[in-house]
Symmetry: none
Subunit: 228 residues, 2 copies
DNA sequence: CCCACATGTAACATTTCTGTCACACGACCT
DNA sequence: AGGTCGTGTGACAGAAATGTTACATGTGGG
């Protein structure tokens, strides 16, 4: 469960602490130090969750939360407030402002991550677990198994994701770049040739059942999974 | 999705109203009027969900919730709090007490049922008190015992819950995060690596009968209980 | 208060996976 | 044929995931 999280925090040390922890948990972190920056970023691309410090230079975190709740585009983005004070009054104001949760500083990274997880779960629909059958190959996300001609095949994690993507996008040719985005993720920085190597490994893994030829090379374009 | 629901409510009229609605929806309702009664019932048989009124004679609903969260046996039972007040303050205390959700009186039956459904959905199905037999292993929730090849095995509490969950969800791969949610509970803040250690302990406990190999590691994904 | 047990973490060991290279091979063009 | 480009292939070192052990803490019972 990875997400794009916008951290609005003016104190560099705390911002860094948070970012490190969130990224360690696999989240993608975008940072800004005040409400203005937050609004600008949000207008550009909606994050999955906002982590807002209560005290900000200029517009306060609570005010920012309220404002985001008022606009249609941003109304549904979960918000977690960070507050240094533990006053009940603040908590009330925070929840009234529309925050989904709040975390009191000092907080443990674990606690922060747990809250984020809980908040995200409330809005995240489950990803598709449906098995895929193509050309005699069967891939089951739930059990994380692949069968070729009835026999189980052994794939590594990346091979599995790659095959899953290809099998759910039959016939179409995917460039290395597209595959990197879809299988590795938007933000990763790896050589395009890496895709070749994994295609090679995947083919090798599919070889025992003879299904390796289902993955076709389209010279100058990329790779494709054939129907038959 | 039907469940055993313990309703802790001192006002007879409201208790009746709730019970009628829940039963109409197919749930089995157990009733009590105070915290003491609730604890007694819980000690006898664990319900699938607790519906607790905020205001109770004697021990308050919040205190009861906290107490249940504190004990190993009852930690994972979902709790929904009923409150007559709409104060945000209550909301906060309720969430801090470990409630999964809360409903403000007066509430519509539809709303109550919706919340119950939502809370129950987070919990995996099939975790009943029925004995489970898989691959020569037998687990009896009622007696809290496990037999491997006919001989009794000795497991710790967490090992038992973990094995129970795995045995009732054969073949499927569970991420560490999912296992934490299902075996430890939603609200617990522990490291994911803790799962590994308990898997290790569980395997060791199953070793005497050779059933330790039934628990498979799926690299990059999590763990699974094999069929055979 | 002491003891046995259970639990969560840290630390270290081991295995597996990944990304890159360097080079081989084959396709395509002139 | 020769040359160029794109892809296949095998090797390898670093990174990541998991196994394993040890330890500190907490808890409940004698």
């Amino acid at each position: 469960m990875t997400a794009n999280i916008l951290v609005v925090e003016d104190e560099p040390a705390i911002q860094e602490l948070i970012a490190v922890n969130l990224e360690h948990a696999g989240h993608h972190v975008i940072r800004t130090r005040d409400a203005e920056g937050a609004l600008q970023i949000v207008n550009h691309a909606l994050p999955d969750l906002l982590l807002i410090d209560w005290m900000l230079p200029g517009t306060s975190g609570v005010a920012l939360a309220k404002q985001l709740r008022h606009e249609e585009r941003t109304r549904q983005i979960p918000i977690i407030l960070l507050t240094a004070r533990s006053s009940e009054q603040d908590k009330i104001q925070g929840l009234e402002a529309g925050a989904d949760d709040y975390v009191t500083k000092p907080f443990s990274p674990r606690e922060l991550l747990a809250r984020i997880k809980a908040v995200l779960r409330r809005r995240a629909p489950e990803m598709t677990d449906e098995p895929v059958d193509v050309g005699g190959l069967r891939l089951e996300p739930a059990t994380r198994r692949v069968f070729g001609a009835g026999k189980p095949l052994q794939l590594g994690p990346t091979e599995f994701r790659l095959l899953h993507f290809l099998m759910t996008h039959i016939e179409r040719v995917h460039s290395r770049s597209q595959l990197l985005d879809q299988v590795w993720g938007d933000h990763v920085f790896v050589e395009e040739r890496t895709v070749d190597v994994h295609i090679r490994r995947l083919r090798k893994s599919l070889e025992p059942s003879g299904h390796d030829r289902l993955i076709e090379t389209v010279r100058g374009a990329g790779y494709r999974f054939a129907r038959v």
